[in-house]
Amino acid sequence: GDSVTQKEGLVTLTEGLPVMLNCTYQTIYSNAFLFWYVHYLNESPRLLLKSSTDNKRTEHQGFHATLHKSSSSFHLQKSSAQLSDSALYYCALSEMLSGSFNKLTFGAGTRLAVCP
């Protein structure tokens, strides 16, 4: 079945440094969509960005990611970390079936802690 791997459980950064959270995946579907969700403490997980297009950069709220099907990767990046970026980040995978998304398969999550 589908799987998503986020190897880093915790990433600690100093404010202003670049962010890179790793995500790799396995799927048999060629039309897979990859997602990044952000989960702030005491809030609902919410979509940060998504992509299904190979080698196309997707950006939202200062974050960006590029889907690379050749390496099955969808790493999340930001040029300069802010204190408010501290949260739990999930990479997730879904395929499109008959015009609608199938279930989301999540990675284990990476907690980003940004320090002053």
Binding site: Q6, G9, N42, E43, S44, P45, R46, L47, K50, Y90, A92, M96, G99, S100, F101, K103, L104, T105, F106, G107, A108, G109
Partner: protein, 111 residues
């Protein structure tokens, strides 16, 4: 304001007790989900509901059952709760190719 509402937010139960977690949505979304969130495991899918009385097991259904008698409501039931069911439970909904809308979660402690 479109949202998914989960009740209760916090719950403490004794081992062996029955547990009912409620989820409601005001968007008429056909598909609803129950996930549990555990450190190091991420969000794991328990059950999917494609519409009223149309439910399917997810990846970890053992120990859980669900009920969906109205499109707006999706309940998760734990018959005889176990300590390893201590977790944070999230409900989500979507329609078509829309993005998921998640609830705020229910934090369950089984002692």
């Amino acid at each position: 304001d479109m949202k998914v509402t989960q009740m209760p937010r916090y719950l403490i139960k004794r081992m062996g007790e029955n547990v009912l977690l409620e989820c409601g949505q005001d968007m008429s979304h056909e598909t609803m989900y129950w996930y549990r969130q555990d450190p190091g495991l991420g969000l794991q899918l328990i059950y999917i509901s494609y519409d009223v009385d149309s439910n399917s097991e997810g990846d970890i259904p053992k120990g859980y059952r669900v009920s969906r008698k109205k499109r707006e409501h999706f309940s998760l039931i734990l018959d005889s709760a176990k300590t390893n069911q201590t977790s944070v439970y999230f409900c989500a909904s979507r329609t078509g190719n829309s993005d998921y809308t998640f609830g705020s979660g229910t934090r369950l402690l089984v002692i």
